[in-house]
Symmetry: C2
Subunit: 335 residues, 2 copies
């Protein structure tokens, strides 16, 4: 599949992204395995919970929410606390914080240490380049509802040959998430169990849309929109929440004396726009502008104009150069 | 939920019916448990596979495909081979054969023997009456794509208080199918993980449609359509596959010298109608007319007229009284 850049089969499961995460764990790992997890947000944390639910030992490298992990830091971790792990889970784009990790660099140092890398690409697939085969990933997990522009309900999971070898030996219980059954059925152009048919049909269409636009153009569009959002936010005097922001979403740090929920509420009530707040434990402390998937320049202009208006109304800011900043990033409106 | 006739919460999972089956098993059972399964078709068989995938001991009462289980037979089974089981799985309407089981009667004798009953109501919910609370079921599992008239991708699972007690002690691995998490979230009008949003919204609408028509009227309509199909099929000189047919679908036995696949193919190619063939090991040996969910009398008339035409064309039959038979069951066309 082109968006993963793999020649290997990508399995579609009737599941959310979390079910895809679970499928990766329960197919690749076996009882007694130790899983190393990079945790600096809700989804990094969730991977640890999934692995523990299957009785696996988990060693976590925890950083503050919003921080990314450098390959050097991960090398240090894998040489010490993570040494006994055979699997490393990396959240490429951490949806709860908007932070991007250097998946290619981290995978390289993990492979040098003999670890298999499971990548959470839920909010990076079709947003940032992913080279499944070339980087040597062992598994990658995505959901239908982000860069693939579909409703939620379909998880996509790719496994490498090394991961399939481990799947043969895996003794963890699974049935509907049994990827070996899914692979055997896929070879016969089928699925082992009733799939979420409308999403499977819609996926063909969304992959065609991506192909028509061109994958490089899709990446460039996401980069342009992310830049417009980041510049507009910092131009308003606010701070980005992530040190290394993803192009899939822009998380904004909420000033100490404010509550992010009011920005979310005003945008919904006055502008019929839905943005996301912070997830526990960051409720109120950040808000998130999503710009992955089916966004055109006009959508981003409208979003940032509305955000600007709301922040002025709420007196979070007392000046605005948002229009000029957005024009600098996206060109003049109507261009 | 009215269609289950329970005052207890019914959980909606991002899963197919099989995922719902799995959720019932991995939440209610614990390692070391024995599960008794009534198996006379693909789905009875699947329940055994699911339980074995979780390392549980399975004792099966196997009958020929198409047969139903009487409460007396099940009592005999539970007093002998099934004695050590604490759970009994009953497929209410066996989709692979069209056979209906007496869920109320079987549940009564199972409860007298101290067993908890897990009911597969995938093709009986909103087709046949189900009294979850009154019958004393421990769990019931349904999917969105049958009597609830939706696309596949949402599983519904109800648990009794006794089942929730067992769920507290359950040591089987689970994460996205963790029903306790789902119940805790439901109490806050939420879900632990991203749900398949369009299906959740559509479910509200389909439950409203059922409420508008009236649950008794929905059952009566299914009974009428089932009767029309059965009478038309036997009127053509063919045999029903099930001894006790479900009102959700009518499975037709294919004569020894014929292949059911040709009926399926002709209906699709010449009449743009999709019916189902037999599932392995019954491929070619039966075909199935589905009539659960959103069917009106006119749909059934059209289906049976087309079936009649195809069977005459293929020279499976040399005479037809189908029109009269259907009119006897449904009244004259246009009435």
């Amino acid at each position: 599949m082109r968006v993963f850049n793999t020649r290997l089969p990508v399995l579609a499961l009737c599941a959310g992204g979390t079910g895809g995460m679970e499928a990766a764990i329960c197919n690749i790992a076996s009882s007694g395995d130790t899983v190393a997890v990079l945790n600096a947000g809700k989804f990094g944390e969730r991977w640890g919970k999934v692995a523990r639910a299957y009785g696996l030992k988990v060693v976590e490298y925890t950083k503050r929410w919003g921080e990314s992990f450098s390959p050097e830091e991960v090398a240090e971790f894998l040489d010490h606390d993570g040494a006994e792990a055979s699997l490393l889970v990396v959240t490429h784009s951490e949806t709860s914080t908007g932070a991007l990790n250097d998946l290619e660099g981290i995978t390289r140092i993990a492979r040098e240490r003999g670890k298999l890398v499971i990548a959470d690409v839920v909010t990076s697939l079709a947003v940032h380049p992913i080279e499944f085969d070339a980087w040597g990933l062992a598994a990658a997990v995505a959901g239908s509802q982000k860069g693939l522009m579909l409703p939620p309900g379909l998880a996509l999971v790719a496994l490498s040959e090394a991961a399939w070898d481990r799947a043969k030996r895996s003794d963890l219980p699974k049935f509907s998430y049994n990827l070996t059954l899914a692979k055997d059925s896929l070879a016969k152009n089928s699925t082992p169990f009733t799939p979420p048919v409308p999403l499977v049909l819609a996926l063909e269409e969304s992959l065609r849309l991506i192909e028509d636009e061109g994958l490089e153009a899709v990446f460039a569009r996401h980069a342009r929109h992310a830049r417009a959002c980041r510049n507009a936010v910092t131009g308003l005097g606010l701070e980005l929440f992530a040190d290394h922001p993803s192009n899939g979403l822009t998380a904004v740090r909420v000033p100490e004396d404010r509550d992010g929920a009011e920005v979310v509420a005003h945008l919904r009530e006055r502008h019929a726009m839905r943005i996301a707040g912070g997830q526990a434990p960051m409720a109120g402390r950040l808000f998130r502008l999503g710009h992955m998937g089916h966004y055109r320049d006009g959508d981003i202009r409208d979003l940032l104009a509305a955000l600007d208006e709301v922040l002025l109304e709420l007196a979070w800011v007392d000046h605005s150069k948002t229009r000029e900043i957005v024009e600098a990033a996206l060109g003049p409106a109507g261009s």
